[in-house]
Amino acid sequence: MQSSLQIKNLQIFRQDQLLLSLDEHVNGGEILTVMGPSGSGKSSLLNWLTGTLSSSFTATGEVWLNGQNVGNLPTHLRHIGVLYQDALLFSHLTVASNIAFAMPKGNKKQRLAKVEEALEQVGLQGMANRHPDNLSGGQQARVALLRTLLSEPKAILLDEPFSKLDTQLRVDTRQLVFDQIRNRKLPTIMVTHDHSDAEAAKGKVIHLQAINL
């Protein structure tokens, strides 16, 4: 079945003021880019999608994932992965454990093998037992990516994930992320204010207006 993420008639209000409204359909492997200045509601959109919208906002609308209405499910049952600006690797676990944490239950040996394989794919072979705090920014971003991907999400949200990386690293990491997304045919929504990100995404771009309070 074609995987898809559908936002139906979303309207987010902050204190009775309309912040944004959206009605979009994202197919698997496609990347919807959302751009806009600060305060325009980009983070609120992502929060709403994951089910963590703060109580100072209200929202109407539905989100359908692969033909299922997931709006009523709690966060941990939605299977929507998020990549943040900070890698947010768990500092009490090694690199491999961080990734294993995200994987579904299974045979221990098989999971380890899968982790090793994934690390190789992104050029981090041999780093399995390193402590996440000892990795560089780019390496951490790649491990975070693996962690999100290996949790077998049904959709991915990107919250300005490359903004803390320097230019060349940004290009490489971005390419890696997008390739993985396209390979796995995951519908993706990316929030950013970098135009080159939007261009590389090669998908629809939406500009949110700034709301003056």
């Binding site: 941990h76 992965g81 944490f101 962690r147």
Partner: protein
């Protein structure tokens, strides 16, 4: 520049340098002074107890070093029961409090309920152990609130039933009292850690990441937040464990007496007319030290074992461990705990104004103010002592803490881990073990002013809390303000007094309120260091707790609660009077 003005500049520079030097010197030596203040009395007290334990007590004409003290101790009837009771009540109550804390945190981690629970339980923190014991005693006695609520319509009891609470031989009453008192403490310590801006934010974000990866909120807490939170909770847990296994107030008021816990027995031996029992008491103090020490070691060992056993669990990918069921269980348990505490407090208030209140009536027949009136008439001197000792001790503690924290910033070196551990020292060493020795030393040095001795002993217990309370706020001060002030020509002393202190007004008040609360609630230090001549509200309350009048002891317990509460209310209100806050 003329010679005269050159001289002036040079001398003023020297003068400024000299002034800086004095303040900086004072500040630089503060941490060492703090260390000495904490280590010397505790070690001195321990030594003064260790020597008699092995037979060296020249005051009693005993100088044969040997194990006669320990032999006498071993032969005491019921010694194993005493030790078991102490260890069991200490361990079980700490474990229960710890587990409940974890469960509450896990279940309510990102919800509003956590804030509400925090606000509900914070006032409970200031209730001294003696008052809490009195309140719990009212609740669980056969004629207590629980029985009254269900009698006689449910149970048919016209006279109080035969029950085992309080003073039951298994120590369940003690465990109840201790758990109810330690649970808010551990919970608020954990919340304090989570309130630290960087750490708290990081942990909450990682919790969110785990949620996104499909983990149930409770599982996410245990697998992601707890491993990072626990090391910061370890010292408070140890303090709780040490206190619970060696406390005197709780077992005195709620515990059995055939035999009592080891700490109570040691106190009785030290106070006995027969001075030769002092040797046995000193040996007992050493035993208590060993028991508490082994409990701490046991906890550490269990911690390491669980860590190794569960390292696989962390990454096995299981997202749910029957979360719904446990969530419901925790909600029920939390409601029970809060209900218990509220009922105990209500019982306390009702007893303090009760006229005739025969079992099984649920409410008193009359409400009278007689008990408050007669208590207040007799309370003058204890109240005065409580307040003055508290103020003197707290002011000194706050000033010393501020100087030490300032030294951290002036020397640009954080306090060593050793210092941070020593600050906890008086809380980790059982007070029954070193207080007797300390008191003996104090008698040697200065026999007449009991007030000073008591204030000094209180200082040992107030300093750690004041330090912990102030350190996080102090370290979070934006250094740029001091830099700006210094670039404008202000000396470190001026920067300290006019830039840093005003910013810390509210945290200083809170730390002071905390210090006052700790001092108000001290029992054993006041009793021993003052030789019984200094009566405070707490010593009166403990004496009356096992006295003839529940009503009078309820009044004193309420006074015990009211005093620190007033301190905290002041700490909350005063900053609002002095500061205009920016309005949006």
């Amino acid at each position: 520049m003329s010679a005269l003005s050159k001289d002036k500049t040079a001398s003023s520079a020297r003068a400024a340098h000299h002034k800086t030097d004095r303040f900086t010197r004072l500040v630089k030596y503060s941490p060492r002074f703090l260390l000495a203040l904490l280590i010397l009395p505790v070690l001195g007290g321990l030594l003064s107890v260790l020597l008699p334990a092995f037979g060296w007590a020249p005051a009693l004409e005993q100088t044969t070093i040997g194990l006669q003290g320990f032999k006498a101790l071993w032969q005491t009837p019921g010694i194993t029961q005493m030790a078991t009771l102490s260890v069991a009540t200490g361990l079980i109550s700490t474990l229960l409090a710890f587990l409940m804390t974890l469960m509450i945190l896990a279940a309510f981690f990102n919800s509003l309920w956590l804030n509400r629970i925090e606000r509900l339980l914070s006032p409970i923190l200031v209730i001294p152990h003696a008052a809490a014991a009195i309140a719990v005693g009212f609740l669980i006695a056969p004629s207590g609130m629980f029985s009254r609520l269900v009698s006689p319509w449910l149970t048919g009891w016209e006279l109080a039933p035969h029950g085992i609470f309080p003073h039951d031989p298994y120590g369940i009453s003690i465990i109840l009292g201790l758990t109810l008192k330690e649970l808010p403490f551990l919970l608020l310590m954990a919340l304090g850690v989570l309130a630290q801006p960087e750490l708290g934010k990081k942990l909450r974000q990682q919790h969110k990441v785990a949620l996104n990866l499909g983990y149930r909120p409770m599982t996410a807490f245990f697998k992601v937040v707890l491993p990072n939170l626990y090391p910061l909770l370890r010292l408070p847990i140890f303090a709780v464990l040490a206190y619970a296994s060696a406390s005197v107030e709780m077992p005195l008021i709620l515990g059995p007496n055939t035999p009592p816990t080891l700490a109570v027995a040691i106190m009785n031996w030290f106070n006995d007319v027969d001075l030769n029992l002092r040797i046995k008491a000193s040996a007992g103090a050493v035993l208590q030290l060993a028991l508490t020490g082994s409990l701490l070691a046991l906890w550490l060992a269990c911690e390491k074992t669980i860590k190794t056993l569960c390292s696989d669990l962390l990454t096995n990918g299981q997202r749910d461990y029957g979360g719904d069921f446990w969530h419901k269980v925790i909600i029920v348990l939390t409601t029970l705990v809060i209900g218990f505490i509220l009922l105990a407090l209500m019982g306390l208030v009702m007893w303090s104004v009760a006229g005739f209140w025969r079992f099984p009536a649920a409410l008193p027949e009359q409400l009278v103010l007689l008990h408050f009136q007669s208590a207040l008439m007799q309370m003058g001197s204890p109240l005065f002592n409580t307040l003055t000792i508290g103020l003197v001790t707290t002011i000194f503690a706050v000033v010393l803490t501020l100087l030490c924290l300032e030294s951290e910033q002036l020397t640009a070196k954080p306090l060593s881990r050793f210092t941070s551990l020593i600050i906890y020292l008086p809380l980790l060493v059982p007070s029954i073990a070193f207080l007797f020795g300390l008191v003996w030393l104090q008698q040697l040095i200065n026999n007449q002013t009991a007030f000073f001795n008591v204030a000094f002993t209180h200082l040992l217990f107030v300093l750690p809390y004041v330090f912990l309370s102030l350190s996080s706020s102090y370290r979070r001060l934006d250094p740029r303000f001091s830099n700006v002030a210094a670039s404008l020509g202000a000396t470190p002393c001026k920067v300290f007094l006019q830039v840093k202190l005003p910013q810390l007004f509210a945290p200083i008040l809170i730390a002071a309120a905390l210090g006052l609360a700790i001092s108000f609630g001290q029992y054993l230090p006041t009793l021993l260091a003052g030789g019984g001549r200094i009566a405070t509200i707490t010593t009166e309350a403990v004496t009356l707790a096992n006295g003839a009048s529940r009503r009078t002891s309820a009044v004193y317990a309420i006074m015990q609660i009211a005093l620190p509460l007033i301190g905290f209310i002041l700490a909350w209100v005063l900053p609002k009077c002095f500061f205009k806050s920016a309005r949006r």
